[in-house]
């Protein structure tokens, strides 16, 4: 598997809401950059853009 293929697979898995389980276990206080974090960020940023458009 090439590096590009691995990156593509990783991106697809993350977009499906799957995160590396072992890395999450390593963090005592939990991970910051989770799919939920980016969903909230998207809502915040794009919500502001929509408000500006209106």
């Amino acid at each position: 598997m090439k590096f590009e293929d691995a990156v593509l697979k990783s991106v697809k898995l993350f977009l499906d809401g799957k995160v590396p389980p072992k890395t999450a276990e390593l963090a005592e206080e939990g991970r910051i950059y989770t799919p939920e974090y980016f969903d909230a960020l998207e809502e915040r940023l794009l919500g502001e853009v929509k408000e500006e458009d209106e």
Binding site: F3, V7, L8, V11, F14, V19, R31, Y33, L41, L45
Partner: protein, 183 residues
């Protein structure tokens, strides 16, 4: 008995400099969140953000942009390769969000068929260094300077040639014998 005299001296690996390349040294970021934070910070730099948006505007997919960014960070010794693969997803998601915010249409996945190649020229066009909407203007021909002057090119009608007699005289082919006593 053949002595392996061409081989390295035992223990030579301990004396050689193994810090020649950044990836020979321990990476700077080994934590998942730290590595993502580093890359997000890097993307948020004005130059990097312009470049990323330009590449997306050129129909380059997000995954290819992420791959380039990750390889750059690996080559600088910032993150290890395995961690780069793990953080590809969050970085791609972040790029997608800021592209949406900037109003840049983008594709997330790779399209192998009809994949567009990014060339230096297309990148410059996207960055505004070259105006892509207009074809390069043909070079304007400057009018030829007016002939004349001491060093100017003479006009054709001004060019006069010596007559046949003068030319033959200049070439020394006249019938008259020289009176210098040499003949």
């Amino acid at each position: 008995m053949v002595l392996p005299i061409d081989g390295p001296i035992p223990g030579a690996n301990y004396t050689s400099d193994t810090r020649n390349y950044p990836w020979h040294r321990p990476p700077e970021y080994t934590d998942y969140d730290d590595a993502i934070e580093y890359l997000i910070g890097k993307i948020n730099e004005p130059e990097s953000q312009d470049l990323v948006m330009s590449l997306l505007a050129l129909k380059m997919d997000v995954t290819s942009v992420v791959t380039s960014l990750l390889l750059q960070s690996i080559s600088k010794g910032k993150i290890p390769i395995d961690l780069a693969i793990l953080i590809a997803g969050p970085v791609a998601r972040y790029i997608s969000i800021i592209a949406d915010e900037a109003g840049v249409k983008h594709k997330m996945t790779v399209q192998t068929a009809g994949k567009m190649r990014i060339t230096p020229t297309s990148l410059k066009m996207s960055l505004g260094i070259i105006d892509g909407g207009k074809a390069p203007a043909a070079p304007v021909k400057e009018p030829a300077p007016a002939a004349g002057g001491l060093m100017g090119k003479p006009k054709i009608e001004d060019i006069t040639t010596a007559s046949a007699e003068e030319q033959s005289a200049m070439l020394g082919s006249n019938d008259e014998e020289p009176d210098n006593g040499l003949a």
